[in-house]
Structures are given as structure tokens and as C-alpha cells.
Amino acid sequence: MVLEVKNVSYAYKSQKEKEILKNVSMQFEEKKFYTIVGASGAGKTTFLSLLAGLDMPLEGTILYDGEDIQAKGLNYHRKHHVSLVFQNYNLIDYLTTEENVRLGGPKKPQDLLEKVSIPQEDWKRNVLQLSGGQQQRVAIARALASSAKVLLADEPTGNLDESTAEEIIELLKRTAHELGKCVIVVTHSKYLAAQADEIIMIKDGSIESAAEVFPGREDVRNIYG
């Protein structure tokens, strides 16, 4: 178990009475591909933000390798424990493809760009000159550049066409199964969600059974105690 969420609750500071996450507990393992699903406003992205150390829970703790992520600071957690991929790629617009990947961590960007199938002639180009699918691949390569064991993705296929999305899903699956990372993806896509090793459904700030949404999936997590 690489990441563990223990009794986490969250609410905006201005509206403390309205809880977005309610006493959520959850465990994540390496080499597994998780998807988090749920209706808009259910608390998926907030949950991912807490896992990423972009914000702190109101109550409860998040543990990385058994240690509270706040112990060494959230900056440290974001730099060394997790890497992030976003729907809108979030690449730095004045850097080249290669430079964007180098930002992610110490690993050789060329190897990673090869791994995500970015042609060599695009490595020195400004990253905004690439297609949407390529940019998302670069974002994944940047996430892989760090030695973090957890890769968090928020709607990574949201802006992509079907075939490109499928390539990205495949890349994420390989990241989990071949590279041994824990991949956690927030998505609205039932297709993407169904590819996961485990599907987590968030409804009204709590984790609930996803069996109704994904009938036939015996591995769908059913959290009730």
C-alpha cells in the first residue's frame, strides 16, 4: 500500500458546514490502475487534490508509505511522491517538449519521450506546436520523469478524440502495470473508468458502490464498511 486515506473530510473554509468529502477512507496500491467516478460536484477533483497535496483535509490524514504527507510538507509530497496529469495538459508554453519533460524530474527526457511515442523531430519544438494528443503524452512523460510512485490524473482524455484517448488510456495502464506505479484517474468517461483495476465512485462526498454503474464488474469496489 503506497497511499492511504484515513477518515478524511473536507469543506471550503468559507462554507465549513457544507462538507464536500465526508469521512472518506481508502487505500491505494502500486502497480494498480484506479479510476474515480461520480457526478459533477460529487467531490472527485477535491479528493484528487487532497491526494496530490494541493490542499489539506479539514479532518483525517493522508499517508504515503505509512507517513503523513504533511510531515515533510506538501511541496515535498508533490515533488517526490506524486506526479500530476491534467485534462488541459498544463505544459509550460515557453519551453520545448524536451524542456517540459525535464521539469518533471531527473530522468532522461529523451527516453521518456520515446516511451510515449513522441517523434524525435518534435523534441526541440515549442510544446504548443504539438497536437492535443501529443501534448497529453508529453504531460504523461513529464509525470514519469519523477521517481514518484503515484500518478494522479484529472480527466486526462477529456479534450481528446476517441482513438487518441484510447492511446492515452493504454499508456496509463502500462504505466501502472509495466512501470509499477499507482495510477489514479478521475474521469467522467465510463469507457476509461471500466479499464481500471479498481473503480471508486464518489457520491455526495462519500465513496459508494459503483456496481450499478458498472454491472458485471466483479472487481468494482463496494465501500460500505
Binding site: L54, L103, G104
Partner: protein, 482 residues
Amino acid sequence: MNSFQMAWRSVIRKPIKSILLFLVVFIISLFFLSGMASRNASIATQNKTKQAVGAGFLMEANEANKHNRADEILAKKDDGEEGNFDGVNVEKIETEYGTSWRVWYDNSFQTLLINDIEKIAAVFGISQYNITTAVTAVNPVNFSRIEDDDVDQSSDLLCVSLIGNKDMELDANVLSGNVTIRDGRMITEEDSDVCVISEELAEKNNLSVGDRIQLNDRHDVVHAAVFEAEIVGIYMVQQKMTPAMSGDTYRSENIIFTDLGFPEKAEGSTSGALYEKAYFKVADVDQYDEVKKAIQKVEIGWERYDLIDNNGNIDTMSQNFNDLENVSLILVLVVAGASLIILFLVFVFWMKGRVQEIGILLALGTPKIKILGQILLEAFMIAAAAVVLSFTAAPAASKITADYFVEQQVQQADEQSVLEEGKVAKSAEDSEETVTGVSVAVTPELMIYDWLGVAVLVMVSVGAAGILIARKNPKDIFSEIN
């Protein structure tokens, strides 16, 4: 990739943002330099009436400085207080029309300082020097003065004028060749209680060399002590000497040259002598410019004096030139204030335009302080280039600014003079000084101040704009991006 590499790439690859900041800082720096340089500008003026001092230099008190010093002294005294304040006399006069105030300076306040004169006299290349007193009106006791029978003398002081000299042959009237000795000799430094009178005065009173004339304080001609001076010479003039003021007291024929200490005694001064001019003769004319530079390096309070060379050029310190220093200071302060606001807005614009980048870097675990550090580094890179370029343009800009300020000051002074005409009593007629040049120098010291000023402004602006980002948590930034 470290912050420097990131900053460099951002500066180079996002040129519009960089050019905008470059132009803003360039203009700010130029204004700063112009303001500072104008503050230290030296204004060359020329007074045609003071030309032909030969191979020497003439030192006189600077009138503007005299007024500035008096203003400073008067500002420190309590309202309604009368008396002598460091040589500035204030007297309350009650009339049927109300209260008015009379302000005048005593000799100790106006005189050239003997220590300063001696320091200049000691400069290598000065062979001789002379000190000349102010024209001093005293009462003739045992002789008659020359009067114009057609003029009503009721408003005149009924006096003669004394001009004391340390070495009469270096008096301006003698140097110009206008005054020459007809009988006897000139006055030298060793003389005491001696005088040289005009041939008209000698003729009228049947006086000759060796006779003694008596003079005393004009304010109390009956009781004041009488002082005697022996006539050692009788002079004649080619043209009548220009009177210091109107009235027969000051007419050319009634001017009596004396030794340096005599006028002070004869007028009954309680505040010492009033040395009005000092003349320094250059031994070797070929070394004139070198001697001038050496004189200017003498450590005295130069703002108190004008140094007039043989072309009539006057080196006046800028602080005496009305409010040039204050106006320049105001320019610098206004530029600093406006720059802070403009730079703050520029950096807020920068931050807003870079929310995504900031969010990405936060997601990658970069601390906020490091992100702000990168932005500051970028700002410094651009600012450094802008400041360096402004150094090349600064001399021209400073010149234009200083010229403009001086022109405004001259215009203001002229307007003031027209307004005051006939209303303000003046001790002597204003001399016709014209500004012949304004020289400004953008020195390395000014450049350092400029760079420091710009650096502080940039730092404060980035810091203030950075608060907008620093206060947000990363999740809020991502909400904005997405």
C-alpha cells in the same frame, strides 16, 4: 532546470511581455537619472559687467545663497520675535497702516570669509591677491564733498564713499585702467589709516598728499568717534566710476580709497568688516586653466560664492539657482511614486497572465517563494538591460531636463522681478546675469543610485504583486486554470 534557466527562457521566448517591462523600466530609469543629474547640474552664467578681470579670478558672495541662508535662519525663529539672528536683523515697525517688518543683514553675515580667501590665495599659481570692502558711506568731518548744486540733497546721506583695499593696485577700477595715480602713491598691505582721494575732492578742499582728512559714523555725526586718514595719493579717472547707488554720496568724485581696515572703523561697525570682493592674480597666464581647476578643488563652502573668470563666466552651484534642487527632487520622488504604481500594475498583469505556469510549477512541488524568485529574476534581467541602455541615453535626456528646468526658473525669476518692480527695496541694482550653459554629468555614482532605485522598485512591486499569488492555495489556482 534551475530558476535562472527558466527565467532566461521566459525572457527570451515571451518577447512582448519582456519588451513591455523593458520600455517601462527604461523610461523610469531615464527619468531617475535626469532628475538626479539635474539636481547636481552646474549652471554657467555670464555677467558682462564683470568681464576683464585680467589674468585672475574674482570672488564674490552669491546673492541667492545669501537669501537662502537668511530664509533658513528666519524659519528657525519664533513668529513675532525681533533681534539679531546670526547676522540677520529683524525689526518690527508699527505704522498707522499696521505692522511691517524690516530685515537687513549685518557685515558678519554678508562678508566673504577671510579664511576662505586665504585658502584660495594659497593655491599654487596665485601670485598676489586683494580684498575689497563694500562701498561704505561715512560722514566727512573736516572737508566738503562734491555736490551737484541743481540736486535736492534732502534725501541724500550727505556722505562720501569709502572703498577699502588690501592692495589698491589690484582694485577692479585700477586693473581696468580707469583709475590712475596723479600724485603720491597707491595703498599697500602695510598701510594703516591712509587714503587716496579724487583730484576733484582734493581741489575743492585744497588737499594734497600728506594732509589728513577726518571721517565718522554717519548715524551719529555729532557724537561718533572721529577717525583720521592720511592722504597718500590723489587719483584721476578716465571715465566716472559707476555709482553703487543714486545720490551724491556715491558719485565718482566722492569715492575715497582707503586701507582695508579703515571703512569698518569709520562707519563704527559692530559686526566686523564687510569684504565684498576678493581678487586673485594668476602668476603665469599660460597656467590659467590649471589654476582655475586647482581653485575649484579648494575645500570651502563654494555654494556661498561666485567665482568669476576672465571671461565673466560665473561658476554657480546649482543649489543657489533658485529651486532647481527642489524641483529635481520632486521629479525624482514623483517618478518613484508613479513607477511603483506602474510597475505594480505591470507585475499584476504578469502574474495574472502566468497563473497557469505558476499552477504547473506548484503541482511539480516548486515552492511559491522559488516561483516568485524566478519572476523576480526575470524582472531583474529585463530591468538590467533597460537600465544599461538608459545610461547611454541619459546624458542627452538629463541635458534636456536640466535645460527645461533652468529655463522655467529663469522665466519664473523674470516674472517675479517684473511683479516686484518698484515694490521691493534692494540693496543694490540687480546685475544682468545670463545663463550661458547648463552642464549635467551622469556620473558612475548616479548610475549606481539609479540601478539601486530601480532594483528596489522592482523588488517591492514584484513582492506586492506576488502577494496575490502567495495568498492563494494551489487548489484555488488550479480551479482558475481549469
